[in-house]
């Protein structure tokens, strides 16, 4: 049964149809043979009844007079006339069951009991030729002038009827086999044709690489059948999937723009703030060019400001370059992150705790880009949550087989929407940023896990990722 269930539906239903056709053929054949048997029974009964009645009329007076010779002679003549036909042996007995005469006296001697010959004999009313016996026995009372004067037992040759039934059975078998075969094939083909849309649907779904493709209108089943509705539903589903993918693409694009904007604002902030000071220093130099101490002081300011700008530019360049490459994670990446988060932390006068406790070997198993992105997003989020004069911490540690990244802040904790984006696979609710969902997706890609808790007014986001290429199972 399990094997049958493994057969595709497009094959199973036609096979089932063929099987039912075979069953139908068998039942129909049985019915025909049964009817033929009944017809033959009726025929043989009528024939036997006529023979018995004729013999009774002819034999009655002789039996009554105990005229053995005349009984025998009559039987002989009757047998002679029917030679090669139905009655092959007939015996007549008196009312006490003693044989008076038989067509074969040696088989049924005079005065022997007829009961020795009547085993399995049927009556004229129940005479039946069912079975394989080519001879049937019939036992009937010999009635004359309204009273029973003896008994007649006759053996009927039904070989022709048996042979007729056998021949009919064979013809039926052959005919039904052909008819069933043709019907089965037609049924199989019809079912295959009816189920073709399903097969096509299955093929489409199986062959789909990334996004399911709709079935062309030209291939839609005609009419308004279940199949048509099914295919249309499938097409609607593919449209929905496409729309969803499109939405995700737009979201990703927006995230990119958001990230770009945030970067731009950071850059603007990092560059614009010192730029005012640098311009003031330039004006001071121009205004007090005759005062060497002022010029020197302003030149120092210019130098520090330009150095800062160079660092910012360098960090941005490094980040972009790293993003495009798959360079391994190093301690420098954490310094870059500190530099990137630095201006924001300074602006909000926050206290930053920075502790990198992992080996360079462990770090090098990761590509730098995803870890930098994860930490940058978490740190920016923590900084935003901590608010002015808050505290932000990054603790990186190494445990057997895993790297632990813990970001803490003294803010009010993650909102429900932020927790959903960071911790679950549930769809992102409308509104809000995508930075935390990006963290979630990146950690998932690294086979890592994220936990978030709050203790002593501190919000802790704990990211655990297995060392890459270590073959370690996911930590959670």
């Amino acid at each position: 049964m399990d094997g049958f269930r493994r057969i595709p539906l497009s094959l199973r239903v036609p096979l089932l149809t063929a099987g039912l056709m075979v069953l139908l053929g068998v039942v129909a054949s049985q019915q025909v043979l049964s009817t033929l048997g009944k017809v033959q029974d009726a025929r043989i009964r009528e024939l036997a009844q006529l023979q018995i009645e004729a013999l009774s009329v002819a034999l009655g007076p002789h039996v009554l007079r105990d005229d053995i010779w005349e009984i025998y002679d009559t039987l002989e003549r009757a047998a002679g006339e029917t030679k090669g036909r139905r009655m092959i042996f007939t015996v007549v007995a008196d009312e006490n069951g003693r044989v008076m005469a038989a067509t074969d006296p040696v088989r049924a001697p005079l005065d022997s009991p007829i009961s020795a010959l009547t085993e399995g004999a049927q009556t004229a009313q129940t005479l039946s030729v069912t079975g394989d016996a080519v001879q049937v026995r019939l036992l009937a009372p010999l009635r004359y002038q309204g009273r029973t004067v003896g008994q007649i037992m006759t053996e009927l040759d039904v070989a022709d009827l048996i042979s007729e039934r056998l021949r009919a059975g064979q013809l039926l078998l052959l005919g039904n086999a052909v008819a069933t075969g043709v019907l089965s094939i037609l049924g199989y083909l019809a079912m295959r044709r009816m189920l073709m849309p399903i097969a096509r649907l299955v093929r489409r779904m199986r062959e789909t690489a990334d996004a399911p493709e709709p079935i062309p209108e030209s291939d839609l089943p005609r009419g308004d059948t279940e199949m048509t509705r099914l295919v249309k539903t499938y097409n609607a589903m593919t449209d929905a999937v496409e729309a969803k993918a499109e939405t995700e693409r737009r979201l990703a694009e927006r995230e990119r723009f958001v990230s770009l904007g945030r970067l731009s604002s950071s850059l603007a902030h990092e560059i614009n703030n010192p730029l005012g000071g640098l311009l003031n220093a330039a004006d001071t130099i121009r205004q007090y060019s005759d005062r060497p101490d002022v010029v020197r002081q302003s030149a120092d300011i210019l130098t520090r400001g330009l150095n800062h700008l160079r660092d910012v530019a360098q960090a941005t360049l490094d980040q972009n370059r790293l993003d495009r490459s798959s360079a391994p994670l190093t301690f420098e990446d954490f310094e870059d992150l500190r530099l990137l988060i630095g201006p924001e932390v300074s602006r909000q006068e926050q206290k930053l705790r920075w502790q990198i406790g992992a080996s360079g070997e462990a770090l090098s198993t990761f590509a730098s880009a995803p870890i930098r992105q994860i930490l940058l997003n978490l740190l920016l989020n923590a900084s935003a949550a901590a608010g002015a004069k808050g505290e932000v911490s990054l603790l990186v540690s190494e445990k057997p087989g895993v790297l632990c990244l813990i970001v803490e802040d003294s803010g009010d904790g993650l909102s429900d929407a932020a927790r959903t984006r960071l911790l679950s696979d549930a769809p992102v609710p409308p509104g809000g940023g995508v930075g935390l969902r990006l963290v979630h997706d990146l950690v998932k890609e690294l086979n890592g896990c994220i936990r978030s808790e709050r203790a002593d007014h501190i919000t802790i986001v704990d990211v655990t990722v297995p060392l890459q290429q270590s073959g370690m199972p996911p930590p959670c």
Partner: protein, 285 residues
Amino acid sequence: MIEFTRRKLLGSSTAALFLEAISSKAEDAFRLGLTPVFLDNDAEVIDQLRTALAAALGVPIELEQRRTYEEVTGLLLEGSVDAAWLCGYPYLQHRDALSLVAVPVWNGKSLYQSYLIAGKDDTAMTLEDLRGGTHAFSDPDSNSGYLVTASDLARLGLRPEGFFRRTIFTYGHRNVVRAVSDGLVRSGSVDGYVWEALAKAEPGLTAGTRVIARSEWLGFPPFCARSDRMKDNRLLALGDALLGLDQTDEGRVALGVLQLDGMTTGGPELYDGIESRIRDYENLR
């Protein structure tokens, strides 16, 4: 003249009436009764006999057949038939009323035997060996088909119905042979002439039987007529026709199919053997 004329006319009328009566009588069919003494089942035998006698007598022959000897004898005694081919036994039973017309000659003699037959595989050698079996007789009034065996038993103080478990009458010698050959009965009493004739005509039938015993030679079944009609011209003509059968083509053909040599005259003494058996049989009764 007138008187002469009247006498002449009367004489002419009388002569015409006489001639008409003679002619009418000559056209009457001769009725001959037949017992199943011979191959009565053979249509050819009957046809040939009828043809031969008709040619000899010059009148149509009506052959009257009945199932039993008693019926044919009855027809003869009451005058329904002119003559009959009877058996010696009924002839002797009615010897006061019947006379012999002619007696067939078979194998040069007017004698025949009664055969006691059994199935070809039966081991019986004598009548005694058949005790307790089933037996077929031809007719209760048949010499060879009943009287011989019954008288043999009577001489032993037995009756057929006591000696045999079951006896049947087939009313025909050929039927006795059939009954024994087919196994309907174990044994039978049959006319030896019929058995021998059948052995030539239907050897397959007699092949199923075996002759256990033969009786002494007894008078052949004769053609009989009522004694009071023996002077009748028709019967005289019949006697001449029978005795002269071997002189005509039709007669020889008839004798051929009957497997007889011819016909002869015979006296009652020819049947003394049967007479003796009748006495023995009736003594027991």
